[in-house]
Symmetry: C2
């Protein structure tokens, strides 16, 4: 369906937009079922936190109401919301009176092979490392060249996702997913204080685990720890959970906690 | 004047452009005098190297001819060229058959205070550190959030530029300039293998110094070395050279080598 820019149907953007010039903005990719944007509160919370950290002025009630209206019109699919700092003058200095520009784009549902969720996937070992930048860590901002070059590292269909390490060799996340491992019943995911995107499904799974009294840990993860994991899976807010069967020479069974959380994620995305 | 997209007058861009979605592209900011784009070969060389490193397909003869035509129409001012990977599908994977999209924007000459060049400037000590990313280091790509947040650190007019260190505390560059120091007659600038933008004026000054038999060094620079410098200056291909008088508690005189190179830079930009 048509995109919207600041609430109006549009298929083009001002060439002065700072989203183009500098990647000066944020985005959310939201699954839509039966006209409902799923995990909406978590998406809006992350967006609001991002706007605060980047000092992008934006009206979050307006964003919510436009998202709801757009999702109703879309019906089924994936909605992408981009918020940029709006038009810029020449140079990096932003106009302090600028308000964020809202862009909504709708796509049909993504047809990932069902086998990814059922039997699990192989992770491609990306050579591209995530850089350390605490001032941007966790944000889903528009500076995504690291993901672009990492995703260009493989073309086969054998690898459904790639694993990205940071510059120090820590295990961080997938190119478009967060990663969890299970060890001795503890659900473990990477600390994202230096780099990485704090995914909405990651936050939801940590919350769900807590309510199920499953112990969780947010910490630095080494390749050694990955090797000794009992279960490994990746997640995002569009496909839910994919068990990870293999990464380079490592392999894991699809475990019971992965299956349990996968059922929960599926229910959230079938809402 | 009107912008051009792929050679045609336009003031808007497709919402599907990967420059907006991911900052998936490169740019050049080129001074134009008497209808001529200055330091054109160096700008085109850096752009071509960037396209190669990011695997963006682009026709560099076409880019050159469009640049020349646009500069003729602009007359005097600053021309910005953006090359993106073009429209994208959903997700980070690029269409291997895509060709780069060319965007040309013209602005009037920038009116920096003459005193910056005459008496020198103060550098603001930016807290924002440049992250280490060898795969993107040197490129003038569209992922510029580090510069945006660094430039937002000061609002006074006392500081004409800010100094950015890397995560290890090395002295790298200004927010929109490269930095040189002079010590015992040697012209020294930062090694940009981990981060930073390899500026066109930086390359030209290194070349000019070589032809004048001025010894040059490209190396890691510590704050200690900055402190003991005889002269410090910043440069870019729009304003030329600004001597640096002060940075935090440090200060320097405007030295003879700075003045000599400033005269050369001015001649290049008055062409």
């Amino acid at each position: 369906m048509d995109s919207w820019v600041d609430g109006q149907p549009a298929d083009t953007l001002s060439l002065k937009d700072r989203g183009l010039a500098y990647g000066d903005g944020l985005f959310e990719t939201i699954a839509v079922r039966d006209g409902q944007p799923l995990l909406l509160d978590r998406h809006l919370l992350r967006l609001a936190q991002g706007c605060t950290r980047l000092a992008i002025a934006s009206d979050h009630e307006l964003i919510r109401s436009e998202l709801l209206a757009y999702a109703t019109a879309l019906g089924e699919g994936v909605l992408k919301l981009i918020v940029t700092r709006g038009d810029g003058l020449r140079g990096y200095a932003a106009d302090p009176s600028a308000t964020g520009r809202r862009i909504l784009q709708g796509n049909p549902p993504v047809a990932y092979p069902a086998v990814h969720g059922e039997q699990g996937i192989r992770l491609f070992p990306c050579a591209t490392r995530l850089s350390r930048q605490p001032m941007l860590a966790g944000l889903k901002h528009l500076n995504r060249l690291e993901q672009v070059i990492a995703r260009a590292e493989w073309h086969d269909t054998e690898h459904a996702e790639g694993l990205m390490l940071d510059q120090a060799g820590r295990v961080i996340e997938g190119v478009f997913s967060n990663l969890f491992l299970v060890r001795d019943g503890v659900l473990i995911t990477a600390d994202l204080k230096r780099c990485g995107v704090a995914g909405v499904m990651r936050a939801e799974l940590l919350f769900q685990a807590e309510s199920l009294a499953i112990p969780t840990q947010i910490t630095d993860i080494t390749l050694d720890q990955l090797q000794w994991a009992d279960e490994v899976f990746v997640c995002n807010s569009v496909y839910g959970i994919w068990p990870v069967r293999a990464y380079a020479a490592l392999s894991w069974p699809v475990g019971p906690l992965t299956r349990k959380l996968q059922t929960i994620a599926r229910a959230l995305l079938d809402a």
